[in-house]
């Protein structure tokens, strides 16, 4: 059954159908094969709706909205001007800043999609102006957003912790090491890219100019202050922080900078709604598809065929990595964690792996898979937000994927990359 379904999906995908159709066709084929007719398709509708309903997804439209207001107004420009005044003269400075901004944003957001939007929307135009190629810029944004999943808080880790009975606090701390390692690798790659492609630099800014840029960015610097202060001060949750950003962005652009009128706010809300719908129908269709996979017990069948019960610890970690990586290329990370973690639990236990180590590997694979074709949700988000064709969004991806996979392999052989901070904190 699995092969029929996947073949149908790939053919429709390649023909150029709207992306929801391959996912829905896979779902419908699955229903047909399970039940012999379409009588039970109400459940497909139920699952499409179930897919878009989780409370944490609210952060996505809210961050799209806030980022859109900031980018149309002055906030984003002023913030970036400030950063540029410090790093504009360095080769690859802006690219490294973008990756770093994604990592920092990860500290407030559990969602990779929200990171794509919030960091990518304001920074992409500036990187294009600075002379970076769009394929590099898009790939950098999409893949750096993976880091947000590893830096706490992370929805993925919370779900994993609950399903696998693992300490969430330990997972959170263990994610930081690999997160920073990836940032370091991306930064090095960005500098190499900038040197090799001879991306022009700006003249080094004088301190007077830097001071002026900081001054102009004072109001917009309220964003990180509000988000970080609000979350760690116990005023709102990461999801609610997104809505707080919307409020602050509206206050700045409508009242302080007077860049946006009510008509502008309406138009921005409308286009936010449009992008949300385009991405969420895919999230919903993906949920319906994963219901079919789960109902037909396909993961159990495939893993049984692989013979996972006879493998050693390293073998098990490789199978886990591949399973989560592939799973998240097709469906939502949360669903993949819910479905696969219980299936792997007995074998993880049997070979004596540290569940925190496994959790970090899974979180990393899930993040990578979300940024990987064909159905990675971060790619959908980038396409919808930046209005670029599918191929252009993924063209620059390969070097980043190679880096990420290298880190994954390193993490399998050197658990200490993840566990050393945990061991310091908890032992």
């Amino acid at each position: 059954m699995a092969w029929t379904v996947f073949s149908v999906m790939i053919v429709l995908l390649l023909l150029g159908f709207p992306m929801m159709i391959p996912l829905l066709a896979g779902t419908l084929t699955g229903f047909m094969m399970i039940f012999g007719n379409f009588g039970q398709l109400e459940t497909a509708v139920q699952q499409i709706i179930a897919g878009i309903r989780p409370a944490s997804l609210i952060a996505v439209p809210m961050f799209i909205f806030a980022a859109d207001i900031m980018t149309r107004g002055q906030s984003a420009g002023r913030l970036i001007d400030m950063v540029m005044s410090f790093v504009g003269h360095l080769k690859g400075g802006l690219a490294v800043s973008t990756a770093a901004a994604c990592t920092m944003f990860g500290a407030v957001s559990g969602s990779t999609q929200a990171t794509v939007v919030a960091v990518g929307s304001p920074l992409r135009p500036r990187m294009l102006e600075a002379g970076y190629k769009d394929s590099f810029v898009l790939a950098l944004i999409v893949n750096s957003s993976d880091i947000a999943f590893l830096i706490p808080p992370s929805i993925g880790m919370i779900i994993y912790g609950v399903v696998s009975n693992t300490s969430i606090a330990e997972l959170f701390i263990a994610g930081i090491g690999p997160g920073l390692l990836i940032l370091l690798c991306f930064s090095i790659f960005s500098v190499i890219y900038a040197v090799r492609n001879d991306v022009p630099t700006e003249p080094k800014a004088a301190w007077a100019a830097r001071f002026k840029a900081v001054q102009k960015a004072l109001w917009p610097m309220g964003f990180p202050a509000i988000i970080i202060g609000g979350i760690y001060g116990g005023i709102f949750s990461p999801t609610e922080a997104a809505a707080a950003c919307v409020l602050y962005a509206l206050i700045l652009e409508v009242l302080v900078f007077r860049e946006l009128d009510l008509k502008g706010v309406y138009e921005t809300a409308k286009s936010t709604g449009l992008i949300t719908a385009v991405v969420f129908i895919l999230v919903g269709a993906g949920a319906a598809f994963s219901w079919v996979i789960s109902f037909a017990q396909i993961p159990q069948t495939v893993l049984g065929a692989v013979g996972i019960d006879d493998m050693g610890a390293i073998g098990v970690l490789f199978v886990i990595s591949i399973a989560f990586f592939v799973g998240c290329m097709f469906v939502d990370p949360i669903v993949v964690i819910l479905v696969l973690v219980p299936i792997f639990a007995p074998v993880v236990d049997a070979v004596g792996l540290d569940p925190v180590h496994v959790g970090i590997i899974i979180t990393l694979q899930v993040a990578i898979g979300s940024a990987t074709p064909p159905f990675g949700c971060d790619i959908f988000t980038a396409i919808a937000v930046f209005k670029r064709p599918y191929m252009e969004v993924i063209r620059g991806t390969p070097p980043f994927i190679v880096i990420l996979l290298t880190v994954s392999v390193a993490l399998i052989f050197f658990p200490q990359i993840a566990l050393f901070l945990r061991d310091i904190a908890f032992n």
């Binding site: 023909l15 150029g16 159908f17 992306m19 878009i52 609210i58 709604g273 719908a277 385009v278 209005k387």
Partner: protein, 186 residues
Amino acid sequence: MLTDDTSSLPGFLGTVDLAIAKLEAIMLALGVLLMALNTVANVLGRVFWESIYFSEELNRILIILITFAGISYAARHGRHIRMSAIYDTLPPWPRKLLTIFISLVTAIFMLGLAWYALQFLLTTMGRGRVLPALQIPVWITLCWVPLGFFLTGLQYVLTAIKNMIEPDIYLSTNVLEGYDNDEREV
């Protein structure tokens, strides 16, 4: 900015089509604004007084509304995500035929889902489940789902027809193919 909202249909049908487009747009914008307002109000309520007990449910209702009002609006503006690598390499005539084929098949999927969504709505109505906090029937929150699928299907039917009668290739009723240059528009 989204260059709305012209209808490709003549006469009275055009007026109806335009009215639907306007309604979809209003749903989208209001849905997003209400969601922001609701979430912020809940935070303020919790900090200074007490939480809005139905806040989460209201957001769930709004996200369904936004998604299903949005998919037909997106179809109208040719904004649904697709992978066009192979499609783009084809010469005009096969490309036009493929566009018509894709539009018709997509329309069949959408209209089919509209039917099953309606059945799901009726089943839910029959069972009488309510939202725990708001205590209103769940089926009310689902009303836009069959409608959204139906209107999306209709848009794809119209796209197919438009491609049959016009010489150019249309991605949607409103949009000629080719990525436009106003990509800074979000």
